[in-house]
Each structure stands twice: as C-alpha cells, then as structure tokens.
C-alpha cells in the first residue's frame, strides 16, 4: 500500500498506536508485572516492602479461607453457567419469531443486562429477604417454607447465583438468537421430512449448530465468573460467616482491611493463572464439541 517509509512511518505508527499502547503498558501490562513483583513481598503499603520470596504462595497453599474462596468461585460457575445457558436458550427460542411486538419483549428481557450488578444484587437481596421478601411469600403460597437465602450459610451462594443468572439471561439470549437466526432452514425441513420430532430437531440440529455461540458464551462467562465480585460484595459481603466468599473478595479484603498487599497479590497471580489455564483448555477443546458448519 501507499505510504511513507522509514522514520516518517515510525512517527505515524507512534502517533496512532502511542496513546493506546501507553495506556496498555501503564494500566494493564505494567500492573500485571507489578502484581507479580508485589506478590513476592510482605507489604502493608505504608512501610517499605520486604522481600519474602515465595512465602505468600506457601501460605496460600494452606489457607483455608482462600481454598473456600476458590471452591465458592467454582460453585458459582457450576451453578450459574447451566442456568444462564438453558434459560438463555429458552428465551432465544421463544423470541425467535417475527410475531408482532417480539422486539419489545426482547428489549425487556435484555433490560437487566444494562443495569449494574450492584442494583441487581440489592434488588435480589430484597426479593430473597427471608422474612418479608416476595420470593419466600410466593413459595409460601404453594406451601414451601422458604429458606434463609442470603442469611443462611447454605443458601447464600445460591442466592448470588440466582441473581447473577437472572441478570445475564438477556445477554445469552441475544447471542444465541443471532446464532439461531443463522441456522439454515433447509436443515429443519429435511429433518421434518425424515420424520424427526420437535425435541429431536432441537437436539440434533439446533444445539449442534449453536455450538459456536454456546462456546462464545461459555468462554466469556467463565472468564467473568472467575472474577465475580460486585454481587457478592453487596449481597452477602462474603458471608454469612465466610460461606460465600470468593477470590476477588479475598483480594480486596486482604489489601484494604488486613493490610496485606503482598499476600493479596499472590492471590491475584493464582487467579490469573487459573483463568489462563481454563481458557486455554477451552480453546483446545473447541474442536471436540464446537461444530462450525
């Protein structure tokens, strides 16, 4: 292509790339390196840092609170993902039509996605309030004695999962809808001619053809899920009694309440590695189950 060469080009590249690259180095890559470095220190952000090598990691290995946080994060993902995928798929199938007003419904289902996690978490905290919340009252109408939800050690994490899946249904729906609308109609026709029933068409055509979109949603959800924080912080504050604590919450607490920035950084590194590994695994396994027609 036409363009200057040499110094002039270098200047142009710097001009266009410069700001973005600078921001990247300063606020993403640089801090990443910084996290690694701080994780090898014992530091309260006030005194001078003290180099302690891998001691923070050794401590993490035996830290029951951190293990619980990891387990809870996994618990969150295992609960959230199926709910969001199945619910989102259901909605997508529902709104996949040209019926009058369907765009309005789509917009309504998507509404929770644009609101902040804080609002959603507080809203659900209220809905799931054991004594006078709407959910327990409704459950009571059908004779079920509603649990303590976010005030109960067993139900705190499920409460967070429920609220989170609800919020993201609209997002999954839109992604899967786009996928649905690109499925070739002739496939269905052929299946019908072969006598395949509705269920079978879903299982053999719809879902396999949707796997690219499903894959996309899964990858995004996993990456976001490992970093879950906002709704936990606001809904349960990691409680009661630490039963819903997650990794990022531990990071924040250790930095700003306990004054252990080095230890918190070690947690950050571990979290980052986990996300990398899981994503890499996913990309690797893509070939196994994602069908690019």
């Amino acid at each position: 292509m036409v363009g200057q060469t040499g110094v002039k080009k270098a200047l142009w590249v710097s001009a266009f790339l410069g700001p973005s690259l600078l921001a990247l180095l300063a606020f993403s890559i640089g801090p990443m390196v910084g996290t690694l470095w701080v994780s090898l220190q014992d530091w309260n952000l006030i005194r001078d840092a003290e180099f302690i090598g891998l001691d923070n990691y050794r401590e993490l290995w035996g830290d029951e609170d951190f293990h619980r946080a990891l387990r809870n994060t996994l618990y969150y993902l295992v609960g959230y993902l199926p709910l969001a995928l199945v619910g989102g798929l259901g909605l997508a199938l529902l709104v996949n039509s040209k019926l009058k007003g369907v765009a309005v419904f789509r917009a309504m289902y998507f509404l929770p996605v644009v609101t902040s996690w804080v609002v959603v978490a507080l809203l659900w905290k209220w809905l799931l309030n054991p004594s006078d919340g709407l959910v327990n009252w409704l459950l009571g109408l059908v004779g079920i004695d509603g649990p303590g939800w976010w005030t109960s050690r067993t139900w705190a994490m499920p409460s967070v999962i429920l609220a989170s899946a609800w919020k993201d249904l609209g997002f999954v729906m839109i992604i899967l809808l786009a996928g649905l609308q690109s499925i070739d109609e002739s496939l269905y026709e052929a299946a019908k001619i072969d006598g395949a029933g509705a269920w079978q068409r879903l299982r053999s055509i719809t879902i396999p053809m949707l796997t690219p979109s499903l894959f996309f949603v899964t990858v995004i959800s996993l990456i976001n899920g490992f970093q879950v924080f906002d709704q936990v912080w606001v809904m349960t504050d990691g409680g009661p009694a630490g039963s819903s604590t997650v990794v990022v919450e531990q990071i924040v607490k250790n930095t700003f309440t306990f004054g252990r920035a080095g230890y918190a950084s070690a947690m950050s590194v571990v979290l980052f590695v986990i996300i990398l590994v899981v994503t890499a695994l996913q990309l690797r396994m893509q070939k196994r189950w994602v069908f690019y027609g």
Binding site: M1, V2, G3, K9, W12, V13, F16, L17, S20, L24, A26, F27, S28, I29, M32, G34, T35, L93, L94, N96, S97, L99, F105, A107, M108, F110, L111, P112, V114, T115, S116, V118, V119, L123, W126, S131, D132, L134, W137, W166, L169, G170, L177, A178, L180, W199, T206, I223, F226, Q227, F229, D230, W233, V234, F256, S268, L271, F272, I275, L276
Partner: protein
C-alpha cells in the same frame, strides 16, 4: 402438543427470520385453531417471562415508594399505601446522590471518548499501516484482554498513589482507557474496508491522518456505535475499581459505589435502599429506552465475530 419453545416451525402465521419459516396461507378450521392456540400460547409465555424479567424492577420502584411500616408488612401488598416520596429525601440527605450521578455521567462520557479515540487510532495502525512486528504487537493486545482488572488492582492502586492520584477523577478515568476489545473490534471493521479507498486518497496527496478521519472513520460508524455503547455501559456499571479508589471520601464516588454505601448505611431499610437503586438506574434505563435497538444489535454483532 404445541411445540412453542422449540425450533420455529413453518406453521407460524408469519414467516420468522430470514431463512427460518415459510410463509404459509392461514387455513380455516382445525389447523387455523391450532395455529391460533400456538400463537396465544407463545404470547402467554412471552408475557410470563416479561413479568419475570421486568417485574422485579417494577417491584423495586414500588418498594421505593413505601413507608417503613409498609415495606415490612406480610403478606406484601401490591400497591404502596400510603405512597411516600420521603425515601428519596432520606437517600439524598444521607449521600449526595446528585454528585454521584454527575460523577458517573462525567466519567462514563469521558471514558467512552478516550477509549474510542485511542482504540480506533490503534486499530487503524494495525489494519492499515504495515510495520515490523505488527502482528506480534497485536497478539500482545489480544493477550491483555485476558488480564482482568481484578488481578491488577493492588499495583494500580500503588501506581495511583505514587502519582498522587488516589481518590481523584484521573484515577477513576485512566485505567478505563485500556480497550483491547475495542481495538480488536475496530480493526475488524477497518479490515472490512477495501484498501483501494486508502490508495486513492494517498494518490490525492492525503496523509494517514486525513485518510483515517476523512475516508475510513465515516465508513465504520456502526462499529463505532457498538464500541461506544459497550464502553459507556461498562464504565457506567463498573464497581470494583471505583470502590477501591474512592474509599477515602465521598467526593468522587460514582453511582454503583454510592449505592453500596447506601446499603451499608441503611441495611435492611429496603424502601430507602430501593429508592437509591431507582436513582442509580434511572439514567441508564432512560438511555437504554432510547437506544435499545442499537444496544441489542451491537451485542448480537459481537457474538457473531
């Protein structure tokens, strides 16, 4: 029975989607009845889902209008009785929610503009300028998409501290400028434009800047809009970093953080907390009401990539 929720069949009264569903003549009699039943069924389910998805927000607004006694009454009543606006007063008395709103709006707009500017410029360089190491550098950009903010808050905080920017607008704004995703998006958009356009312009004596601004940018408006929507929403709703960096005072607090402080102050006084929530989402809901078609389209567009 009615296969409402399953793959659309050609028996819908209207064709659904480009290649899905065939136009069909409405037939009288039995099949017409079945079709209408399916239609009604489908609408019913859609309305039920709408209640599930939007209902809680309505419940939230109602809660914001209830008195202390009413909010705790069991069984819950549908409409508040009496209706009161005092919760909103209590919210603004406890915290300066006007300031929080202004902060949120200001930061979101500034961040969106900065993101658009830097990422699009970078995307141009990646898409339109051949230079050594271009692919490697772009791979680096992609790689950083994997670095979540949560992982770097400690050093980011330290950085802000060293710059003397803790609890400042600059600190709120600067880390949001990083937008590898936006760069990726815009690069895709530029790659879709034929290079003849550039060449023609260069022959006419334009430089890179003019090609960028006058020739290419106008052609990627949809992608820009998508990017802007994402950037705005993400910044508006961001919580962790603003929480951490504004802990020192109330001056730079944004709406999500302000709401969480309200929650800390009022705990289970749900009517007040819901009033605060209403204030917090009102701007974004209004924004969404006007732009929802764009927003939804943008999300679908990203899913396709």
């Amino acid at each position: 029975m009615a296969d409402l929720a399953l793959a659309p069949t050609p028996t819908d009264t209207e064709p659904s989607g480009g290649s899905i569903g065939r136009a069909d003549q409405p037939l009288p009699g039995w099949s017409g009845y079945r079709r209408r039943a399916r239609l009604v069924g489908r609408y019913t389910v859609m309305v039920a889902c709408a209640v599930l998805m939007v209902g809680p927000f309505v419940w939230m607004v109602l809660a914001a209008l209830r008195t202390d006694a009413d909010i705790r009454s069991v069984p819950p009543t549908l409409f508040p009785d009496p209706v009161t606006g005092e919760n909103f007063t209590r919210v603004t008395e406890a915290f300066d929610f006007w300031r929080f709103t202004a902060n949120s709006i200001g930061i979101a707009i500034a961040s969106t503009i900065l993101q658009l500017a830097t990422a699009t410029a970078a995307a141009y360089a990646f898409a339109r300028i051949q230079f050594k190491g271009r692919n490697l550098l772009f791979a680096l950009y992609l790689a950083t998409m994997m670095i979540p903010l949560q992982v770097v808050i400690v050093p980011l905080f330290i950085e802000m501290r060293n710059l003397g920017l803790v609890d400042s607008y600059a600190a709120l704004l600067l880390p949001t400028i990083v937008s590898s995703f936006g760069t990726f998006l815009m690069r895709q958009a530029f790659l879709g434009l034929p290079s003849e356009l550039d060449e023609a312009a260069f022959i006419d004596g334009a430089n890179h800047f003019q090609v960028f601004t006058k020739v290419l940018l106008p052609l990627v408006k949809p992608a820009l809009a998508t990017f802007a929507v994402f950037a705005f929403m993400a910044t508006w709703n961001s919580f962790l970093w603003p929480l951490v960096i504004t802990q020192a005072s109330d001056r730079h607090v944004t709406l999500p953080v302000g709401l969480s402080r309200l929650n800390g102050r009022f705990g289970t006084d749900w009517n007040v907390v819901m009033a605060g929530s209403v204030i917090s989402i009102a701007p974004i809901v209004v924004f969404y009401a006007f732009t929802q078609r764009w927003v939804i389209r943008s999300v679908a567009y990203t899913g396709m990539k």
